[in-house]
Amino acid sequence: MTTLHSDPLVADYLHRLDGAAGGLPAQQRAELVAEIRAHIDEALRATHSTGSTGEAAVRNVLKRLGRPEEIMDAAVERTDPPERRQVGGREVVALLALLIPFMGWLIGSVLVLLSPAWTTRERRIGLALPLVVLLFSVVVSLGAPASTALGPLETSLIFALGFAGGPTAAIYLAWRLRSASR
């Protein structure tokens, strides 16, 4: 997203705005910066036509817009899930499903994705856990016979631990439900 502008004050403002918007999805951030930029240009065109130009006019427009942090606060609070999470049957079923490998992970993942009770970041972590843990344990246990340190019992144990990802994800997501959304 371009924050360049012919006026250095405006460019700095847009840059700060873009920086403060880290919590927003990329598309939303780009859109907001573009809208603010269009507003500034429109406002400056208006002041230009009334004869008032220069730094004072620019500062006035930016002052009326407000601090980038204020604008970002307004944007963020309107997109995140509400403070109190709505936990219902669907969420319980999702968590229970995650305890069951493969089929359960699939069903649980779909339910987690559909539920508004978790933030995007929480969903990503929760859904990645079972797969990552399984992948890790498979890699380690396949490579283990080559090393003399691990016998077949230990290798099997490591492989079994691969299925711990699902319960771990369920515990993580359940724990997140108990905290406020932000």
Partner: protein, 121 residues
Amino acid sequence: MEPGQTRNMLTQLRRGAVEFCVLALLRDNEQYGFELVRSLAAVDGLVTSEGTIYPLLTRLRRDQLVTTFWQESESGPPRRYYHLTDAGRKALTDFTGDWARFRDGVDTLLGLEDRNDHPAQ
């Protein structure tokens, strides 16, 4: 309640009312972002930071209370115009009724209204 807290309450009230003020501005005609923002800013005490209106507009769009379209402008780049949807119109009507009742009730309690002017609800 401490004196300082009334400021906070006012902020909450503003936040709740501003979106319906936007819908009201769109009731009779379509307007583009800058126009809307400046109309709101002209009302004393309604908007403290003009930039915060834009996230509000995005949310109204997302909630399908308004739709938008682009239109060329002679003086610069195309502008995004806002248009009230049927759902938006209904939300506005509902709020107008709620607000009138709320306002009248509070005014009466605060002693700002003459009780005799309003029959019992």
